[in-house]
Amino acid sequence: MGLPLGALGLFGEAFQFVFQGREAATGGVTVGGLDQVLELAAKQLEVTLLALLVSLVLALPVGVLLGHYGKGEFVAVSAGNAGRAIPELALIALMAAAVGVGLFNLVVALAILGIPPILTNAFVGIRQVDQVSVEAARGMGMTDREIITKVELPLAVPTIMGGVRTSAINIIATATIAPLAGILTLGDFIISRNVYGDAGVLAGAILVALMALALELTLAGIQWKLTSPGLKIQRT
């Protein structure tokens, strides 16, 4: 149990690590500092957004179409359940050890984690749309394409974005252990304690937490923008 005062001191050191840098635990060189922090943060964001984009492109159309035609419920729902059971550490480690390190492989591994929630939520969101609304739209002469884009998708926004947010959180959290797969993200501060010391570890932990929260808030904002004005009145 550390004393509160000691804990406070470490937070001060972490602060110094982020803004000025500190001597490496191994001695000699200075590590940390804003330049390195920004570089690693940019890498973490890049990896996260790339993986999220790949997940969206692959999972969203499939989930929406399956939901619209009411097919493949078992696949769409099991994917979500199975995805949760994948141990992140084992996935990244196996990818690095068996397939190889590098950006491409890392993004593939992260997308494997990102696809299931988006697929399942897209399916469920579209499927949950009141069939009366869909029939009314059909009665007005809308094509399948119009029904999807003008009726089903707007009504399914909250559920679909729920899936996207789950994916994003999972991906950015796992991108933290990306240094194990040879891509240096903010997680390097956490994982390479022998280089950065306790101040670096704590700084990394704070930065990763802030970044995840910022991403979540951004996605919540996007969800708000995407939700049609009529639905916002009902949902208080």
Partner: protein, 250 residues
Amino acid sequence: MSSWVADGWLADGWLAGAAVSSDFFRDRSGGGCIQENKLFCPDWAINNLDRYSDPTLQHLVLVVSAVAAGFVIAFSLAVLAHRHRFLSSPFLAATGVLYTIPSISFFFLLLPITGRGAVTAIIALTAFTLQIIFRNMTTGLRNVPPEVTEAARGVGLTATQVLWKVEIPLAMPEIIAGLRIATVSTVALATLAVFANGGGLGAEIVTGSNITFKTGIIIAGSIAILMAIVFDALLLLTGRLLAPWKRVAL
């Protein structure tokens, strides 16, 4: 059992383990398959399966403690929020923040306070489960038809009795669904506990500074997946027993 939870299972070194890695490398000098580090070496797996029993047990303790603590806290929060509706949004926001902070980051935010070890890992994993359980339970309670609670009050039940005898039993399918999601995710996440020196199956994936031993990664990963499946099936069964009038959806 409680002593190793308190002290951390591994020596205090970083990921450490001299104890873990030295016998590990001795094992590796054995057969050709291991030396070539092929994708999966069945002989090694069969001969070394016993080395996975302790990590599996530790993993089990991590998951069960975290989910049990998460359930107790989230359940209480949900009951409170059900009674006092204005608490619902702040609880949702607070648990949302805890859910969003990556567990691995959480471990090290706790480090100055709780140090390194299984307790730190359990706290972080507990924090992760809160939102899932809370959200599902509040949804379940909200979906109880008002006619039913009115009828219950009509036959003379107090608010507390309505909650425990009518609302919670009717919300059971959603509560169990939340528990299943939380448990399965926690089994997977608990592999990261190794970074907090919390032991578990992750310690067999990151052995010393070595994360290239494929057979070990596959065995530890498979045990974690299997554990998730078993927990999921057990909770599904529990759900059917507790809410026999309604089949819990797969």
